[in-house]
């Protein structure tokens, strides 16, 4: 009987009725409250006001609500209860329906003028605190200006409120996904970039206030509360989102809101009296302060400072306000602390940043300029260890390659004595044959350099070289050493020995190798030959057994699975291949050994 059109009309009529009812209710409650003296409204009044007001606004009757709200007679009521209307207002404003927008904006503006700033602050922050991820950016951008207005009204007592507001805003912003590529930053689908830019505008009046205070009191007071809150904000931003962000340089992306944000943060720090060089040196200069000064530690989190160092030296953000007179060695010392923080992480992006910062800091140094006592500092030992870890264990090939190149660069910048100490240390502690082999190659290069006329030094020639050689020319487990496992190290050490015997004439003996040769023969070459024989015998036996096995089909003794997948068994052919390549490797070692003996015998020394 009732067709769709009729049903629709019935619905609309119902809605209109409901609306009129709500509006009437709203007027009623307001009128009733007008009579109450001194704002002694009951909680029932509050609730009713809120519920009914909410309905009105949500149902689109904002015009009428506006007229009620701005009515002078209702001033008291609005002042006390108005902030409860924030929630529905925000909801409607976010919907962006043109019809209601101007009225809602007008209501909001009026509320901001009339209501108590403290209550408004609570109301606004409530709106920001529990946001669905879809509306974070929109809500923040909508409410930044109102928040700012409210905070500015708080006068001299605004510091903690400002801090609270900034903290709430940042915690929501960090839920937004960080754009990684240039296109993502341009599209800014989730709105992080816009939020960042707006946020800078938001804090600007507070920064100006701090600067004005400093002017008036002839100096920046460290205890100025507002300054402390802004400092906390900057430090937090440096960590999140800036540490996660991959900034693009001006050539790749001309206009980058994230770059502007980063610059803005560093400029703010500088403006509030935290000079960038002082921040940079914070980790190494503050150690002698009164212990238990936790406040200082908390105020300057190392991760944030690491982010700042990366922005300065790798991205060149705010470099124009960074003095150009700091010595590169000092900058290296400062940055080592931050490189350590970054390289201690397991996240690929942080490791990448750590390596980049290390590289950029090293590049500023002249070769062979770092003195040996720097190696006494903890970070100058722990950072190379981290780099080795990346070089050898990281599953990401880029990181491994970069790690290796930075490792070599770090060696190049040490002076001769420091190189010597470093090599000895690495040989003792690395436990990785590849790394040891690499170090031994470096030793060979250094000795080669020292043998050139005019380059002689006491570390890679003569009496200091010999203990180093002893460390190099030895088998870690004697004749039982696994030659294949230690292949890199063994080959490099034999190369070094061969090189020395050819290069250093026995009548010059600048390296002392000729007088040590008999010892090396006993301690290294003999056990090595034994090991070779044993290994060869073992693998030949395995090979024979393997060949015999192909006739019968034995089920293998063990299975290997990776994740949940079982790895297919090695076929006998594959096994044969492996065994034969092992034997080939032994031949390789033997050939170098033979050549060494040849050279030594030719000079009548063995």
């Amino acid at each position: 009987m009732f067709g769709p059109k009729r049903r629709e009309r019935a619905c609309v009529k119902e809605a209109k009725n409901a609306l009129r009812m709500a509006l009437e209710q709203f007027s009623d409650v307001v009128q009733r409250c007008q009579a109450i003296q001194d704002g002694n409204f009951s909680s029932a009044d509050f609730d009713l006001f809120q519920t009914v007001g909410q309905t009105c606004i949500e149902q689109g009757d904002s015009a009428q609500v506006l007229s009620i709200v701005i009515d002078e007679k209702n001033k008291n009521i609005v002042r006390c209860m108005g902030w409860n209307l924030l929630e529905p207002l925000v909801k409607v404003l976010l919907k962006k329906e043109d019809k209601n927008l101007p009225h809602c904006h007008a209501i909001l503006t009026h509320l901001l003028e009339v209501c108590s700033p403290k209550e408004l602050l609570v109301g606004l922050l409530e709106q920001i605190e529990q946001l669905d991820s879809g509306v974070i950016a929109e809500t923040i951008i909508l409410l930044l200006k109102p928040l700012q207005t409210v905070l500015l009204k708080l006068g001299r007592k605004k510091a903690s409120s400002v801090g609270m507001a900034l903290s709430t805003l940042l915690s929501q912003m960090v839920r937004l996904p960080v754009p990684l590529s240039k296109e993502q930053e341009e599209d800014d689908v989730f709105g992080l970039c816009r939020c960042c830019v707006e946020l800078l505008g938001f804090v600007s009046p507070f920064v100006e206030e701090i600067k004005a205070d400093a002017r008036d009191s002839h100096g920046m007071s460290r205890e100025n509360e507002l300054r402390v809150e802004i400092l906390k904000f900057c430090m937090k931003s440096l960590c999140e989102p800036l540490l996660e962000v991959q900034l693009k340089d001006a050539d790749t992306l001309e206009k980058s809101p994230l770059r502007d944000f980063a610059t803005g943060i560093l400029v703010i720090l500088n403006s509030i009296g935290e000079s960038l060089p002082n921040l940079l040196g914070h980790s190494i200069l503050r150690k002698r302060e009164v212990p238990g000064f936790l406040e200082e530690e908390v105020r300057y989190p190392k991760e944030s400072l690491a982010s700042m160092a990366h922005l300065l030296f790798v991205q060149h953000i705010a470099m124009d306000i960074f003095p150009a007179v700091l010595s590169p060695v000092f900058v290296m010392q400062c940055n080592m602390e931050y490189i350590e923080v970054l390289l201690s992480s397991t996240e690929e992006s942080r490791l990448q940043k750590g390596l980049e910062l290390y590289e950029k800091t090293l590049v500023r140094l002249e070769n062979s300029s770092l003195p040996v006592d720097l190696l006494d500092l903890k970070t100058f030992f722990s950072v190379p260890q981290h780099v080795i870890k990346v070089m050898t264990l990281s599953p990401v090939q880029n990181l491994r390659t970069k790690g290796l190149s930075v490792f070599q660069l770090s060696i190049d910048k040490l002076n001769t004595e420091a190189k010597y100490k470093f090599f000895r240390c690495m040989l003792k502690t690395s436990g990785h044959a590849g790394v040891e082999g690499y170090i031994i190659k470096n030793i060979k290069n250094q000795t080669d350099f020292a043998l050139k006329p005019g380059n002689g030094n006491e570390w890679f020639l003569g009496k200091h070289l010999l203990p180093l050689l002893q460390q190099v020319l030895c088998l870690p487990q004697g004749p039982e050493t696994d030659l294949l496992h230690n292949l890199d190290r063994i080959m490099e050490s034999l190369n070094l020995l061969r090189y020395l015997l050819i290069r250093d004439k026995e009548w010059e003996n600048e390296t002392g190798i000729w007088t040590e040769l008999y010892k090396i023969e006993d301690n290294y070459l003999k056990p090595l030959r034994t090991a070779l024989n044993m290994s060869r015998a073992h693998y030949e036996a395995e090979l024979k057994r393997n060949k015999e096995n192909t006739t019968g089909s034995k089920s293998p003794v063990c299975t290997v699975s990776l994740g949940s997948e079982k790895i297919p068994h090695m076929t006998p052919e594959m096994q044969t291949q492996v065994l034969q390549s092992a034997l080939f490797t032994f031949d390789l070692i033997e050939s170098v050994l033979a050549r060494i003996e040849e050279i030594a015998e030719a000079k009548g020394r063995l």
């Binding site: 060089p277 030296f313 470099m319 007179v325 010595s327 060695v329 002249e366 300029s369 003195p371 006592d373």
Partner: protein, 303 residues
């Protein structure tokens, strides 16, 4: 201590005033020379011919950099002498010495070969062996021989004593915090022109915090760095650059240059690239490789 400086200074800057070679340290010839030096010592007005302008009259106020230069020279000298010093073995026992097995000449030769110059001088055993044999009695020689081993005043040890003192000085001066390679010698690689005089009494010492306004330009006039705010903003808003001077936190030209300035002074420092950013330059800040840098620096405060 002054004596050590004297010796070292001679090696660095042979000049007629400081002409007191080590070997003549305790001999009597040339009394005029010795006394004039002694007089200078006592007057405490050792004049030193060093090209740096900040040398004050009192020699003990040499800045640490110059201590290092002196020490280096001294160490080099010591190394050379040290090569000769290995403690000799005592071949002859008392009985043997007294008998005719050990002739005087052998004994003299041994002592002359192994004892320090000062010892020989004191024992009057210097000079031609024949002559010494004529004047010295065997008993005296035996006494001298014994004394030599007791006091261990062998060749090279006199200087050894000196190096002990020198080492002690070096440890005091060693700055633990940041280390700069202060091993190169040669003239300072910067020049200073005073634009405005300071109070000439408040000079910063190493480790003290200085604050300054500065502008840095390249030789062609390009400004690459400054902390002086431009435009209408007054200096009250910006802060001067503060740092601990002489600790290697800034480029060497600054560390050296600021130590020569007094509070309130404005100077132009022209710094060669070796004491600035060298072969690398600072591409971040538009400083090319091997760039000579010119800074106009105003030393605001020292504390």
């Amino acid at each position: 201590m002054i004596r050590i400086l004297h010796l070292a200074l001679f090696m660095l800057f042979p000049s007629s005033e400081a002409a007191m070679p080590l070997s003549q340290a305790s001999t009597s010839p040339e009394p005029d020379r010795v006394s004039s030096c002694e007089a200078e010592e006592m007057a405490g007005s050792l004049s030193v011919k060093v090209s740096a302008k900040q040398m004050s009259d009192d020699a003990s106020k040499l800045s640490a950099i110059h201590y290092f230069l002196l020490l280096l020279q001294l160490m080099k000298f010591v190394k050379f002498v040290g090569k000769m010093a290995a403690e000799p073995t005592r071949e002859w026992g008392d009985e043997k010495l007294k008998s005719d097995d050990v002739p005087k000449k052998d004994l003299i030769k041994f002592i002359q070969d192994n004892a320090s110059h000062a010892f020989l001088a004191e024992q009057k055993l210097l000079g031609n062996i024949k002559n010494v044999a004529k004047t010295a009695k065997k008993e005296h020689l035996i006494v001298a021989y014994n004394q030599l081993f007791e006091s261990k005043r062998f060749k090279g040890t006199e200087v050894e004593e000196v190096t002990q003192e020198v080492k002690a000085v070096k440890i005091e001066e060693k700055l633990k915090e940041t280390k700069t390679d202060i091993v190169d010698e040669g003239p300072p690689k910067f020049t200073k022109t005073v634009l405005k005089k300071g109070d000439k009494s408040n000079f910063p010492k190493k480790g003290e915090t200085v604050s300054c306004w500065y502008t840095g330009t390249l030789e062609d006039g390009t400004v690459f760095d400054t902390n002086i705010p431009t435009g209408a903003r007054k200096k009250k808003q910006a802060k001067p650059l503060s740092f601990k001077v002489g600790m290697g936190k800034v480029i060497r030209g600054w560390d050296e240059g600021l130590l020569t300035m007094s509070k309130g002074e404005t100077a132009r420092l022209e710094i060669e690239s070796e004491w600035a950013y060298g072969k690398k330059g600072l591409p971040d800040s538009k400083i090319p490789p091997n760039a000579k840098l010119i800074f106009e620096v105003e030393l605001v405060s020292v504390d």
